[in-house]
């Protein structure tokens, strides 16, 4: 079987000089303008930290040689013909994706906040009547809406200046109550320093927020329009 790490352009000089799973040589399978970064494999890689890091190491090595679209962990195909067919039928989207990410990297941002959500301090209300109960729940939903608005405004103030330095971005507000913002930015390599300077300024200007920026990553979050070149997903069989 063949394990696929990434898709790159077919004009890269060579496969990355790095060992894949089971210490196998990494090679390229080329098909009309695009190429898959692959290695032969005997059995499915377990989902563990070492294997996740190995997949990432191969993708990063390929990224040093040309633009890459990383492929989701655990992608196995029967043989090289199957790989060629899989990339050839989505050649147009893959080529467009590769043009878009060329010379760019992904930066990840996670912003935590501590908000007073009112629940911890509010005494337990025993609803004496239906009217009290309704008033209490109205008040609670008003507080939730208010918190949501406050979060969106603060997240926007962080996200906007960073997004303006990026070619593309994704953004989720409050996907947990402590996580104000979870965002990804597709940034030109030459703009990474400016992005970090802006982030430093935002960090100083918002001492109550904790910001975690990781990367540069391969452009995982920007592999295609609408969040993925997802075709015929037969995942989870």
């Amino acid at each position: 079987m063949i394990y696929v790490y990434a898709v790159t352009t077919s004009n890269v000089r060579s496969a990355p000089d790095v060992k894949g799973f089971e210490e196998a040589e990494v090679s390229l399978v080329r098909a009309r303008g695009v190429a898959a970064v692959v290695s032969p494999i005997q059995s499915n890689p377990d989902l563990d930290e070492a294997n996740v890091l190995r997949h990432e190491a191969v993708v990063e090595a390929a990224m040093a040689l040309g633009p890459v679209l990383p492929v989701r962990f655990g992608t196995l195909l029967a043989d090289e013909d199957a790989v060629r067919e899989a990339i050839e039928i989505r050649r147009t989207e893959l080529a467009a994706g590769l043009r878009r990410v060329k010379g760019r990297v992904e930066l990840a941002l996670r912003v935590l906040w501590s908000h007073d959500d009112g629940h911890a301090s509010r005494p337990a209300v025993s609803a004496a009547s239906g009217r009290d109960y309704l008033l209490t729940s109205l008040e609670q939903s008003r507080q939730v809406r208010c918190l949501r608005r406050r979060a969106e405004a603060r997240a926007r103030d962080i996200h906007r200046p960073l997004a303006s330095l990026a070619a593309d971005s994704t953004c989720h507000v409050l996907n947990t109550s402590r996580q104000l913002l979870l965002a990804a930015y597709l940034v030109d390599r030459r703009s990474v320093a400016a992005f970090r300077r802006e982030l430093d300024q935002l960090t100083s200007a918002n001492p109550d927020l904790r910001m975690f920026c990781t990367g540069p990553w391969p452009p995982f979050s920007f592999v295609g329009a609408g969040g993925g070149v997802a075709v015929a997903t037969s995942a989870h069989e």
Binding site: V4, A6, V7, N44, L47, E49, V52, L53, H55, E56, L69, P70, V71, R72, F73, G74, T75, L76, L77, A86, I87, I89, R90, L94, G97, E106, A108, R110, L112, S114, T176, R178, Q179, R210, F212, T214, G215, W217, F220, S221, V223, G224, G227, G228, V229, A230, V231, A232, T233, S234, A235, H236, E237
Partner: protein, 68 residues
């Protein structure tokens, strides 16, 4: 390992898992991870997020402790 290095390592691993399992090109392939595997990792991810949050709280508490 000091706490901030540990925290950074955890956040980095969390961001990597988030990407490698949930983003990236999906080829028409036999994705060999079972639903159970993915669920297990995401339970792990949640634990990681909480551990980051816990470390943050510990840090904040420690800072308050020092300043008082």
């Amino acid at each position: 390992m000091n706490q901030s290095v540990l925290r950074e390592k955890r956040v980095t691993l969390l961001d990597l898992l988030d990407r490698i399992l949930d983003k990236g090109v999906i080829l028409d392939a036999r994705i060999t991870l079972s639903v159970a595997d993915i669920d297990l990792v995401y339970v792990g991810l949640k634990a990681l997020v909480s551990s980051v949050e816990t470390l943050e709280r510990a840090r904040t508490t420690a800072a308050i402790g020092r300043s008082s």
